[in-house]
């Protein structure tokens, strides 16, 4: 399931809905991304007051659905979920959540990390950080691209 929304989400309620009545699910691997107060841009950490996540409506849903489908094909998942917020967020706010259920714990972990690595480089979101009233677009990190490349099949 894919959710792209401005509103916050309740992790417990989302996971309960995902496994509701699905008693074959033995475990859920989950990742939750939060807005950090300090971010390293070009190596130097800077305190931020807020960030605004811009996205490309339509393409976002298409990319996230494609990433989820890819995970479903590569691992034996009984359920999966991607939630990504957009709009203005402050430090500590939840940004993103991925969750994968599988009978195999290791598969759930791998698929959940795969979702995060892929959406970091494939989902059309851009972060604008606010610091002392100035806005700065965040640069993409090479480490995210490297993380995604781990999952490439030749």
């Amino acid at each position: 399931m894919i959710k792209v929304q401005a509103e916050d989400f309740d992790i417990g309620a989302e996971l309960a809905a995902l496994s509701e009545g699905r008693h074959e699910i033995g475990g859920l691997a989950v990742f939750v991304g939060l807005v950090r107060a300090k971010v390293a841009n070009d190596g130097a950490p800077a305190a931020i007051d807020a960030m605004t996540l811009e996205h490309y409506p339509g393409m976002t849903e298409k990319m996230l659905a494609g990433i989820e489908r890819e995970a479903q094909e590569r691992w034996p998942l009984s359920a999966s979920l991607i939630i990504h917020r957009y709009g203005r967020l402050v430090p500590g706010d939840r940004i993103v959540m991925t969750a994968c259920a599988s009978a195999h714990r290791h598969a759930a972990f791998e698929a959940c990390e795969f979702l995060m690595d892929w959406l970091k480089t494939k989902a059309p979101f851009w972060k604008l950080e606010e610091q002392d009233g100035e806005g700065a677009w965040v640069d993409a990190r090479d480490s995210d691209e490297a993380a995604r490349k781990r999952w490439e099949t030749s």
Partner: protein, 83 residues
């Protein structure tokens, strides 16, 4: 042709989206970038470093050599930074 701009590409051009009607010889994403860059200083700044840009055609990532047509939706933006 519908064009969309995001993040600092949008900021530099000063537009989030527009309709354009490029001449027939603008056949690829790369051609379109060259054609747009000549439209004014904001465009020139946005397309000054093509290697820092990404493009999508009809909401799928597209390479510079990808063909485009009048009915396409084409978007330009920096590498994504979500998650």
């Amino acid at each position: 042709m519908k064009l969309l701009y995001f993040a600092w590409v949008k900021t530099r051009i000063g537009l989030a989206e527009e309709e354009v009607d490029p001449p027939a010889e603008v056949a690829t994403v790369g051609d379109l970038m060259t054609w747009l860059a000549a439209r004014g200083p904001g465009y020139a700044a946005a397309f000054a470093e093509p290697e820092r840009l990404r493009a999508a055609v009809n909401q799928d990532f597209a390479q510079m050599a990808a063909p485009i047509s009048q009915s396409d939706e084409v978007a330009f933006f920096p590498p994504v930074t979500g998650g």
